[in-house]
């Protein structure tokens, strides 16, 4: 079991470009979470899917950020028109049942917007 897989591990984009981050949850897990981690803000919740359906996206910036889970084996986080303040480590986690269950985190994607 490789655990939660995130690709790419590192991404550098220019200001205004689009970035797409991928997450493959642990097989059989019904819930997928996206977080953003920075030194200043710490770990921030972005969005949450259960059985591929969006449950809570209250942490997502309303503009430029979107997340999808087209099938049970992967989820994507897309950032349009990236800005330097989007630079962070983006973490994906999955759990068997949802929020009331142990979350397993991926290694993260380190995004740097120049």
């Amino acid at each position: 079991n490789a655990g939660v897989i995130q690709t790419p591990r590192h991404k550098v984009t220019g200001k205004g470009q689009e970035a797409t981050l991928w997450c493959e949850p642990i097989s059989g897990h019904s819930a997928v979470f996206w977080y953003r981690q920075t030194i200043v803000q710490g770990l921030e919740f972005l969005t949450y899917f259960r059985n591929q359906a969006p449950i809570d996206d209250s942490g997502m910036p309303k503009e430029r950020f979107s997340a999808q889970m087209p099938n049970q084996s992967h989820s994507t986080l897309k950032i349009q028109s990236t800005q330097p303040q989007d630079s962070a480590v983006y973490l994906c986690a999955s759990s068997l049942l949802g929020g009331q269950d142990t979350q397993y985190f991926g290694p993260g994607t380190r995004l740097l917007v120049l």
Binding site: G42, L43, Y48, G59, Q100, F105, G106
Partner: protein, 107 residues
């Protein structure tokens, strides 16, 4: 408003000493988890403790819902326990994390 407060922000111990980490919440919650992260490493779930006392090896967590707090006790600390400990609560399905306690255990 910071919904999850952790203290202390940092803690330095000698190997073998015990550590007590605190977490307080702005709302009543029965969904509390403790996580650990080594520098550059993955976040790892340590304990899920909605209420009462839970133990896992040298880790003991106590959550008191009516007082909106949870603690993590690490007994006989080891150098490899060094890292950041985060607590999280669930607020309407959305996990909210504290800023963490950075623990350094020295030989």
């Amino acid at each position: 408003e910071q919904q999850v407060q952790q203290s202390p922000a940092s803690l330095v111990l000698q190997e073998g000493e015990n550590a007590e980490l605190q977490c307080s919440f702005s709302i009543f919650t029965n969904q509390v988890q403790w996580f650990y992260q080594r520098p550059g490493g993955r976040l790892v779930s340590l304990l899920y403790n909605p209420s009462g006392t839970k133990q896992s090896g040298r880790l003991t967590s106590t959550t008191v819902i009516k007082e909106r707090r949870s603690s993590l006790h690490i007994s006989s600390s080891q150098i490899t326990d060094s890292g950041t400990y985060l607590c999280a609560m669930e607020d309407n399905n959305a996990p909210r994390f504290g800023a963490g306690t950075k623990l350094t255990v020295k030989p």
